[in-house]
């Protein structure tokens, strides 16, 4: 293989459909996050993206829309039980916005990818006080240069977040409008 694709989603190969369609309209992510879609998305069933759900428009090697719902205190924002010597990125309920941003930056750069923060601002998300993140990421596995945007909020000690990234050439602009609209529509239920 041209590059080691270790950083990219490893697909579940056994049994059931790996990709399902998310139809336009309301959909619930986890137990408490409700979003409203104007257009359909594709949901990918993957091992190594948990606890996030993974959606995509152009395919997993191109764009990734990760949705996190109800991440608990002490829970890792990535799958665990792999390389024991690798650092774990765990959410803590008392984390401040700058710390949560740092947590995701750390997770995204575990494989040596290069992260640059473009913007970090307070914003309402899911009907809660939250924050929004814009960043650039150079993916180590294949040198693709990505743009990213994320929305985060904490409710009852649990983290809710959506994170979208796509190549900065053409692709990010193509779909980010939908992502922003989804962000605006998001509701975290009590």
């Amino acid at each position: 293989m041209k590059r080691a694709l270790l950083a990219l989603p490893i697909l579940l190969l056994a049994g059931c459909a790996a990709v399902t369609k998310i139809a336009p309209g309301e959909t619930t992510v986890g137990e408490r996050l409700v979003v409203k879609l104007d257009g359909a998305w594709n949901q990918i069933n993957v091992q190594n993206m948990r606890p996030a759900q993974l959606w995509t428009m152009e395919g997993i090697y191109v764009d990734q829309f990760r949705l996190y719902s109800g991440i608990k205190d002490g829970q890792a924002i990535h799958p665990t039980g792999g390389n024991a010597s690798q650092k774990s990125f765990n959410f803590r309920s008392n984390m401040q916005p700058d710390e949560i941003a740092g947590l995701f930056e750390g997770m995204l750069t575990r494989d040596g990818s290069r992260f640059t923060l473009a913007r970090l601002e307070p914003v309402a998300f899911g009907g809660l006080p939250g924050f929004r993140l814009e960043y650039a990421l150079i993916r180590k596995a294949d040198n693709v240069q990505l743009s990213g945007v994320g929305y985060f909020a904490v409710s009852r000690g649990e983290l809710f977040a959506i994170l979208y990234m796509a190549p900065r050439l053409a692709f990010f602009q193509r779909h980010v409008g939908q992502v922003e609209q989804i962000a605006r529509s998001a509701q975290v239920k009590e």
Partner: protein, 239 residues
């Protein structure tokens, strides 16, 4: 690098390709909607071929073989030149050095190609419902940088990875097959690759073919031609 770890490393292209039927696709599968043929005398730039050939040692270790790769590169280039002539298109040269300028586009194309190979040509469970079964990917206007630089209207990207079992490995393979009473057929070598035709004005991927099989030999000119034919199967004519 062992084949098993290559597969474990999430090389979905290889794996998905192996699981796919591998038979010839219907023509529609390879083409974007509404694309039928290249205009006569279309200017086509062949992006530097991305190719690597490996030998598989007795222990299953993949070892890059530069002389095979070099030979294969030359054979493919010759076969592509011949193809271009038969297609009635105007070839435009692009040196490796010039290609440096387009590295971001190249890297991006690689990611798109992997996506297409997996989600369009791979097993049906990986299809993306929103694509509706169509070859519907576009790199958008950034590709115009290549058009402006080379004067070409279309670009052809090719990527090939190929491995060949060394003699020890072949012997080992036979032994495994015999010992398992035919239940285990180890891989002698796998040829995987893709060819992709991109419109340099719109960025649309007009035509794409994914190749995966356990035969073919790029090390010799005659056989390389056969591989290229397979890779460029259903390549659009010019009208």
């Amino acid at each position: 690098m062992r084949i098993e770890s290559l597969l474990r490393a999430g090389c979905a292209l290889l794996l998905a390709s192996l699981l796919a039927p591998g038979a010839a696709w219907p023509q529609t599968r390879n083409r974007a909607e509404g694309f039928d043929a290249l205009p006569k005398n279309a200017r086509l730039v062949v992006m530097p071929i991305d190719i690597e050939l490996f030998s598989i040692s007795g222990g299953g270790v993949l070892e890059p073989k530069a002389d095979w790769t070099d030979a294969a590169s030359k054979h493919l280039k010759a076969a592509l030149d011949a193809k271009e002539k038969s297609l009635d298109v105007t070839a435009v040269e692009l040196s490796e050095k010039d290609a440096d300028e387009f590295d971001e586009i190249n890297a991006l194309h690689g990611a798109i190609a992997r996506s297409i190979a997996l989600h369009h040509f791979g097993p049906s469970m990986y299809r993306l419902p929103t694509k509706d079964g169509k070859l519907d990917w576009s790199m958008g206007e950034p590709v115009r940088a290549i058009r402006d630089r080379t004067g070409a209207d279309y670009a052809l990207f090719t990527w090939i990875r190929d491995s060949y079992a060394s003699t020890e490995r072949q012997i080992a393979n036979v032994a495994i097959a015999i010992l398992s009473l035919g239940r285990v057929i180890p891989l002698g070598g796998v040829q995987s690759g893709y060819a992709s035709l991109v419109d340099l004005t719109t960025g649309r991927v007009l035509w794409f073919n994914a190749l995966a099989r356990i035969s073919g030999d790029l090390r010799e000119a005659g056989k390389a031609g056969e591989t290229l034919d397979k890779l460029l199967e259903n390549f659009p004519d010019s009208k």
